[in-house]
Amino acid sequence: MASFLARRLLQSVLTLLGVLTATFFLVRLAGDPTTLLLPVEATADEVASFRTALGLDQPLLVQYMKFLAHAVEGDFGISLRQRTPALGLVLERLPATLELALTSFILGLILAFAIGLAMRLSGSARLRSAVMWIALARQAIPVFWFGLLLILLFSVTLRWLPSLGRGSVTHLILPAITLSTYELALYLRLFNSSLATEAKQDYVRTAFAKGQSRSKIVIKHMLPNALLPLVTIAGINLGLLLGGTVVTETVFSWPGVGRLIVQSVSQRDYPVIIAGVFVVCLIFMVVNLIVDLLYAYLDPRVRLA
């Protein structure tokens, strides 16, 4: 257990180091920041003093070490546009992203659990098949287009719900529907498929032969086993969702981290991009670590060696 934790932590640190190294060199590859930050008419002296101020006159390796040393302290530099610390800007937007991601995640997971279980209890293969095709169809609809269709229906045509921004609960409804239906489709397909795997097992046949009721077999015997894959995938997906609401946030002008990153990209605000990517990766890794531990707790066969 302790050694597993130590290995996973080491792996996480290495990953973060890799992410930071890749972003540092990619940004350098993109060109000299002075051409972006200084006006075109800047004199050679001004450029030189600016380069000294930013430390760009030093060897690349020294710059890299300094960048890492600052990053460890949570200092990703000053936003080139807003002139405030980049990390602060990202953390400011984090609650909005968490609100949207967690709402959609919980909604999708609960619905998938309820619908999947009800379908299995009903015992109708035809119903299951129909619902699975609907879920597959929902997965084929791109998130941003689905969001726009919802805006078209509920904001433009019916004028029931606001389409942009964050504020009251009504603002949350459309983006949450957009994301949670996608999550629902994913979890429902997974849950259904793992229930189907369990249904083929010998212990289920034996239980049926003994004359146990379907509801008892499904809930007492199949459910605990079928939940394991759901926990793993849901966990990895929660991490993805926390960073992957980028597109939905843009559609609904939701002031979260994803939208901040996209805006910073169009403004070439590199410190904010790096800080944003770093924070999202960090959250993603922490969530994955928790899921691994939870998985070992739920399934005694998994040994954390």
């Binding site: 084929a140 609809i141 287009w145 994913l186 397909r189 997906n237 843009t250």
Partner: protein, 282 residues
């Protein structure tokens, strides 16, 4: 045994045929003009007449460009990027996966460690960061989508080759002096290829949607070249005046992606469905 062709299979084939006809036939029509602007007849709804009395089937955008023509050209771009990126990632993934599974040891540790590293960054975010910095030409997008998508193939190829390398035909070849390269090419590759094609067809839909999402965010295909994602994003400002600008390209995108996925789903078995679900989360 002949498979019973179900309704959903027909639906998938119909959707794919419609998209293929769109991208192959429209560019040969005399009215094909994806770039010609006509401000006098901008933002026309479908089946309206242009300034010169000509019928416009899908209407026009804000610059008066013909939506049908742009839809066809965008479809070509999407399909080109999607298929090339799948090819790039499949080649990388198969080679790395087979090498990892055949040699085991530190080779495997390094390759799979790299896969884990890549999986610990959400793919959309990785693509946003990299396209932001390197710029997004069609070539860049294809290569980047390909480079970021190899893990699904790599993992499956490695898992399959772990058992293949213990099989008699591989062992017998080794005792007869076969080199690892020969063994991988002649014995492992043909045996994993069918699975790779299945992973590829699950991935194709994902990659096309990713490209559309990037273009929607303004980080993918750059104007004046059309892309379905870009057309949806341009249409968003006119949602109240002319919703068709948003609805039509989205419908084309849906028909392509759903067509590929429905068809793959009808031709594969339960176990492979789990692979599809696994592909979707990376």
């Amino acid at each position: 045994m002949m498979r019973h062709i179900t309704f959903t299979t027909w639906l998938a084939i119909a959707m794919l045929v419609a998209v293929v006809l769109l991208v192959t036939i429209i560019p040969w029509l005399p009215d094909y003009a994806p770039y010609t602007q006509d401000l006098a007849s901008s933002l026309l709804p479908p089946f309206d007449r242009l300034d010169n009395g000509q019928l416009s089937i899908f209407g026009t955008d804000k610059l008066g460009r013909d939506i049908l023509s742009r839809l066809a050209l965008a479809g070509r771009v999407s399909l080109f990027i999607g298929l090339s990126a799948v090819a790039v990632s499949m080649v990388i993934g198969v080679i790395l996966g087979l090498v990892a599974g055949y040699f085991r040891g530190w080779t495997e540790t390094i390759i799979m460690g790299f896969a884990d590293l890549q999986l610990s960054v959400p793919r959309v975010l990785l693509l946003i960061a990299v396209t932001a910095i390197l710029g997004s030409t069609v070539f860049n997008l294809t290569i980047l989508l390909g480079l970021t998508s190899w893990v699904a193939y790599g993992r499956v190829a490695r898992a399959l080759s772990l058992s293949l390398r213990e099989r008699e035909f591989v062992l017998s070849a080794i005792t007869q002096g076969a080199t690892p390269a020969w063994n991988i090419r002649k014995h492992l590759l043909p045996n994993v290829l069918p699975q790779m094609v299945i992973v590829g067809s699950f991935e194709l839909g994902q990659i096309i949607v990713l490209e559309a999402a990037l273009s929607y965010l303004g980080l993918g295909i750059q104007p004046p070249l059309p892309s379905w994602g870009l057309m949806i994003s341009e249409g968003q400002s006119y949602l109240e005046i002319n919703p068709w600008l948003t609805v039509i390209p989205g419908l084309a995108l849906f028909m392509l992606v759903a067509g590929v996925q429905f068809l793959t789903r009808s031709l594969t078995t339960e176990g492979e469905e789990e692979r599809d679900i696994a592909v979707r989360i990376v």
